[in-house]
Symmetry: D3
Subunit: 160 residues, 6 copies
Amino acid sequence: MRTALYPGTFDPITNGHLDLVKRALRLFDRLIVAVGTARDKAPLFTIDERVEFIRAAVRGIGDVEVIPFEGLLVDVVRGAGAVAIIRGLREVSDFEYEFQMALMNRRLASEIETVFLMPSERYTYLDSTIVKEVVMLGGDVEGLVPEPVQEALLTKRRNR
Amino acid sequence: MRTALYPGTFDPITNGHLDLVKRALRLFDRLIVAVGTARDKAPLFTIDERVEFIRAAVRGIGDVEVIPFEGLLVDVVRGAGAVAIIRGLREVSDFEYEFQMALMNRRLASEIETVFLMPSERYTYLDSTIVKEVVMLGGDVEGLVPEPVQEALLTKRRNR
Amino acid sequence: MRTALYPGTFDPITNGHLDLVKRALRLFDRLIVAVGTARDKAPLFTIDERVEFIRAAVRGIGDVEVIPFEGLLVDVVRGAGAVAIIRGLREVSDFEYEFQMALMNRRLASEIETVFLMPSERYTYLDSTIVKEVVMLGGDVEGLVPEPVQEALLTKRRNR
Amino acid sequence: MRTALYPGTFDPITNGHLDLVKRALRLFDRLIVAVGTARDKAPLFTIDERVEFIRAAVRGIGDVEVIPFEGLLVDVVRGAGAVAIIRGLREVSDFEYEFQMALMNRRLASEIETVFLMPSERYTYLDSTIVKEVVMLGGDVEGLVPEPVQEALLTKRRNR
Amino acid sequence: MRTALYPGTFDPITNGHLDLVKRALRLFDRLIVAVGTARDKAPLFTIDERVEFIRAAVRGIGDVEVIPFEGLLVDVVRGAGAVAIIRGLREVSDFEYEFQMALMNRRLASEIETVFLMPSERYTYLDSTIVKEVVMLGGDVEGLVPEPVQEALLTKRRNR
Amino acid sequence: MRTALYPGTFDPITNGHLDLVKRALRLFDRLIVAVGTARDKAPLFTIDERVEFIRAAVRGIGDVEVIPFEGLLVDVVRGAGAVAIIRGLREVSDFEYEFQMALMNRRLASEIETVFLMPSERYTYLDSTIVKEVVMLGGDVEGLVPEPVQEALLTKRRNR
């Protein structure tokens, strides 16, 4: 049995992230979605909210566990008994940053492989930052995030 | 009659921006330069100053209107009856970010086209950030920004 | 009235090209699709076939003319009284080559602007080369090219 | 049990390819290395030689099968009962071409995932083309290809 | 005798920076490492600490001087009588930013050439930011920075 | 005294190449321009013509020697007693290929450094291929190549 770990800030999870979760589940027996606390990034949603959004979204789609994490990524991967780190590749600048992180992680833990998957082209332009920006400016993100996330975003906007 | 809208922060306008305004005017009957308030970016010049610099610079070069804007870009474009968003493309990293924004804008308003134009190669390296940096460190930006902008920058430097 | 010219080899036209034709027609009053003879590229279809495929595909979608061309692109643009060259931008490597050509064309004819448009993300991966490759290896390209093109490709495969 | 397929021309196999084979074997139970005939590329080594070089190189390093292939890649993947296509990512231009192919393959066979792995940074600059070029110009490629490949390359050089 | 200047924030110096220093010394008679104060970046180490780390690291490896600097880079280069600015090129996004700065510096001082060198591929992924991040999360950076820097980073971590 | 070597096909030399020669001469005491025979590329001009064009163009601008070469580049560099290989960097795709070659050359001869210089932005779009293409299609390249090269290109066109 092989486990993979999909790390991120997920502030909040988008349908692009979910697409990647489903793709990873075809390749590995078990997937752990690891949500970084991201304290220095001042996330819009708390770590508990972010974990909860993902748990609701992945319910019933396979053997997926969602955990918060702090500290060095490779330590979390090792602790979870995972063999691979899952990353989505969307564009060139992604690629460069991801490459740097993957090489550093390999240096820290040579037995862990970083696996890059390609999201659906429908989500090429999608990330958490642009979703938050559009909502806060009054735009509609239906179909880009799970429904509970959309509602939470609209509540944040009203309460601003 | 077709109208295009050229959005940006313009903090401050450079001769590269002006070059693009002139190019857009060859392709469209009317151009609206829309200056974002950019509150979260802590701009060097106020929105009124930035609008005023552009108004002075575009005087007499065609049917150009300069307006401040807030909120979702596509709403401004629709409100102005424009058919196109004008963007300058200078380099690869530009391209990626611009692509992401253009795809999101297309999703929000499929009838609006984003049109990418290429500034003169003399302005390849020019953006508002590097202009401010050079001035604040004591460098000369003559020929890179309109004269009133240069004077305003020098005043900012003296008053720092 | 403004005319734009969309040059290419179109060997053969794909639905990505057609998508761009429709986008250009929103911005300009008239579009000329200029099909290069491409003698040194040994095209799969003759210049007459390529022109005919496009003529059939653009019937009824606006003021579009399809012409074969040889020689310097800017001479054709000038001869046609066009103000802009239309190019589709799909990816970074595209961008670099397109940039080089656009700068050279600007040097040769400074009054002509190159206008970059973004095809639908459904066609991000689509170009004539990959279409021909897939068909020749026995794959299906329905939905990627106009129907007459698909039939002609299948005939080419059978007769190989 | 999950099988992955690693396609390529392998003209000839390099130590960078071998590095990727070993990485893929950590993630999948079984790996098929599929060697394209590449008739139109006029390969230096015959398809039989290329298959044989890989068979010798992968002996004893896990459950690896080496096969020649012709036709559409996704048909080979399906025929082999594989769930993933393995590709190595070295640099940006790689990425673009790989992305295009992966999207086309996904369209042709949506159940197959393309998995991108990162070779060791020692092999960043290594591909079959540069190896052949260096040998033919009289340079040394020890440590860059398996020993039998090195010998075969030297024989080719002497017989030129 | 030719002098080159290698500017940076060096917060802190890494073995990738040192690798570049050694490469520059093969090409120029004398090298000045110029450490920017970087006040607006809130560096981890003071300017004095950063200068001292470099001085210790370059002892005995050639004619190298280490100086702090403020203000416009080209003024420092001119003041030092240097003919070239040394920059390391690691990846594409580096390249774009470096290109912009180099073109601006050329405009400000056309007699100064920016010279790009390539660090060892062992250091492709290495920069000061990732080193600090890894240490602060509890990871090991032995072999990536000079020993006194490693000790100082560990002290910073303990005292956080 | 330090010598650098600037290799290329130079089919034919452009003003962009000449710009780089002048820049290299500020940094090194002596420059060798090494013209590859490029037999497999079927160059437009013979090796003797290409060498002669460069010799005429560099007359009087410093200590420059022009030589034809065959074989492995690093052998030529070593034979010439040079410490550096000069390469021009224009764009991202350049960068990738150049990087690959530079890393391979470093592996073959670790004492030789590849030095990347940036041509004037006026020549960003300029290479030998586009010059030949424009001339053959009837376009004007005055100011892009030395005068004798322009005349030779026009003669080639007339005699086609």
